[in-house]
């Protein structure tokens, strides 16, 4: 990697000369600033090289270089050439540290990559449209064709939407609007009493908000697909999907540590 600047003996010699010169200059002086800038410019390829290792994470490359450059400047200010360490060796952990901190601070783990976020919005629309047209849920391949993206991108967006729920589910779950007065629901309620596991399920189900209970019964007692439930309840399939997995999580929790006395029947 000759583009690091430091592998070329002439450039390395020039860099050491500049470091010695900079340290002799009073901080804040015009000349000090100019030498510092020159050193930063010389070593920018190192930052770019390191930043490139993080580009798979959907953070724009120029942003990573900018953050890495902060680490570079810190290293330039703290570098002690007399210790005999090569500058790139000294600076690399600091630059990497800044880049990693950036991912942490911007909440990479909670941060939806912009591209996937945009795709996610289009995905929800396309999923609804295709479900209407096909009278069933679409496949990933069908969505990819509709959205004119690769299947991998669809998969990524789906996983993103699963991991980062942007919809305030609680608000959704607590709306006891009259929208759900489907006769099917009272029928299901009676049906539940005939289910083998009712003694376990009934008290646990009763701890759930009405909407979540209804969605679960539609899915598991009536055997409705998520697409059908979305239509009955009047929310999107993605919301149904999230409601189901969240309610099941709560139920499992409730069943392993009941807060209500078990039904004696």
């Amino acid at each position: 990697m000759s583009q690091h600047g430091t592998r070329d003996p002439a450039a390395r010699a020039e860099a050491s000369r500049l470091f010695v010169e900079m340290r002799a200059l009073p901080e804040g002086s015009e000349r000090h600033r100019r030498v510092r800038d020159q050193l930063a410019e010389m070593h920018l390829p190192l930052v770019e090289y390191l930043a490139r290792r993080f580009t798979g994470r959907n953070e724009p490359f120029p942003d990573l270089v900018q953050v890495g450059a902060i680490g570079l400047l810190k290293s330039i200010d703290r570098f002690e050439p007399e210790r005999g360490l090569e500058f790139s060796t000294y600076a690399t952990p600091t630059i990497l540290g800044e880049i990693k901190r950036h991912f942490r601070d911007t909440g990479w783990l909670l941060h939806v990559p912009r591209r996937a976020q945009e795709l996610q919005a289009r995905l929800a629309t396309a999923r609804g449209e295709l479900s209407q047209e096909l009278r069933r849920a679409p496949t990933v391949a069908e969505l990819a064709v509709r959205l004119e993206v690769s299947q991998d991108e669809v998969i990524e967006a789906l996983d993103v939407s699963r991991a980062y729920s942007g919809v305030p589910l609680d608000a959704l779950a607590e709306t006891d609007s009259a929208a759900v007065d489907n006769p099917l629901l009272s029928e299901l309620d009676e049906q539940l009493d005939r289910v083998e596991q009712r003694a376990v399920l009934r008290p646990a189900l009763d701890t759930l908000p009405r909407r979540e209970r209804e969605v679960l019964m539609l899915r598991f007692l009536a055997g409705k697909s998520q697409t059908e439930i979305a239509e009955i309840v009047g929310v999107s399939q993605m919301q149904v999907s999230r409601l189901i997995s969240r309610s099941l999580g709560k139920l499992r929790e409730e069943l392993s540590h009941p807060t209500t006395a078990p039904d004696p029947t």
Partner: protein, 124 residues
């Protein structure tokens, strides 16, 4: 037919790793999104069913068999002889609702749950 196998610590904290590959594998078998969602839940439930029986510090093996329009997921853990997954609880009820085929087996090697998800005819 393709086979994908993951081996991970038999600990609920690692189940998300199995889930992480589920969408991509379901898509590969050309399942619909609803079915992929079902598969996600089934993976969760199958693991929830098995992990209580897993021996301490053992390994959960998650294997996917991929075919056109069909995916078979099998989770297995080493378990004490005689251990049986709980068929009376929520996990089992949910799994049966989600699967086209559902099997458990217990042998000398431990306990396993197998879930098959088949694509419905893609009409129209």
């Amino acid at each position: 037919m393709n086979e994908v196998e993951l081996r991970l610590p038999a600990d609920p904290a690692f189940v998300s790793l199995v889930r992480a590959v589920t969408t991509a594998l379901g898509a590969r078998c050309d399942l619909t999104l609803d079915q992929i969602d079902d598969l996600h839940l089934a993976v969760d439930e199958a693991c929830a069913l098995l992990l209580p029986h897993a021996e301490v510090d053992s390994t959960l093996t998650a294997r996917f068999l991929l075919d056109v329009g069909r995916i078979e997921f099998r989770a297995s853990v080493p378990a004490a002889a005689g251990a049986r997954p709980d068929r009376s609880g929520l996990s089992w009820a949910v799994l049966s609702a989600l699967s086209d085929e559902l099997r458990t087996s217990a042998d000398g090697n431990g306990l396993s749950v197998t879930v098959v998800k088949r694509r419905v005819a893609l009409a129209p």
